[in-house]
């Protein structure tokens, strides 16, 4: 038996994972509890990506839109990206503020978990929407981090989606500061605390 049972534990909700990573360095052991999915020999991340790709390809076929599907793994999660072949073709599948993208991600996760029997944390991107948004957010987060360092006071960001907050938490942790989410959805926001 390997002593490393932390290895098998799927990371908890995004924010808990970040907070603990940024917080006390001592608590390496039992961080992840929430999922409780008992994923002994769970499906591989690549399997999840394949199921997701089939589901999305089927949809693209029906609506007669070309899109390339790229499967990868990012931060321990399967990531599936639908890439535009003809510019503007997939815009309506992103929707205002990514609302349609989020809906499709929900459905894709359900399709995956139906096949694998495990909850899926797959990330879907369409037409580079998340990638673009991530770059923007990283810039905004860097400004806020600089402000927190300069003033020594907490900086409160505007309300964001879980995905967006995760990007900010990651940036903050990388800069060696701490951050927490406050408020309730959909008005939940990140507060950055200097060191």
């Amino acid at each position: 038996m390997s002593a490393e049972d932390t290895e098998t534990v799927v990371e908890t909700s995004e924010e808990v994972g970040i907070d603990s990573a940024a917080g006390e360095p001592a608590t390496e052991s039992v961080v992840a509890v929430e999922t409780g999915g008992e994923s002994e020999e769970g499906p591989t991340l690549a399997d999840e990506g394949d199921v997701a790709a089939d589901y999305l390809e089927g949809l693209l076929d029906i609506i007669d839109i070309d899109g390339d599907i790229d499967i990868s793994v990012a931060n321990g999660r399967p990531a599936v990206a639908v890439i535009e072949v003809d510019k503007g073709d997939l815009e309506h599948l992103v929707g205002p503020d990514g609302s349609v993208l989020t809906a499709l991600q929900d459905l894709t996760r359900l399709a995956v978990s139906r096949e694998t029997g495990h909850r899926s944390r797959l990330m879907l991107d369409i037409a580079g929407h998340r990638a673009t948004r991530r770059a923007e957010l990283q810039r905004v987060a860097q400004q806020a981090i600089a402000e927190a360092k300069e003033t020594g006071a907490p900086v409160r960001m505007s309300a964001m989606t879980p995905f967006e907050r995760k990007v900010v938490h990651d940036e903050v942790a990388a800069a060696g500061l701490t951050s927490e989410s406050e408020g309730t959805e959909p008005q939940r926001y990140v507060v950055i605390t200097p060191a």
Binding site: L59, I62, D64, L93, A103, D106, L107, L110, A111, R114
Partner: protein, 80 residues
Amino acid sequence: MLADALDHLVRGIVDNPDDVTVDERSHRRGLTLKVRVNPADMGRVIGKAGRTATALRTVIGALAGKKGGVRVDFVDTAEH
């Protein structure tokens, strides 16, 4: 096309895909898509707090585009 898309999206998330049917009816004010699923799958299709039903409606609404006016109803195969 919308009915086919909805049929595909629903089939992918239920335990009894063969029981899924989507019935399309157009009327002056738009289109109604009636999704029938096995009673055992009703919970899956509706989702926690209606989240899955909302997701399906969001995607179908987006596919319908500006024409809009698509209504999606969910019933189980035991109902008529």
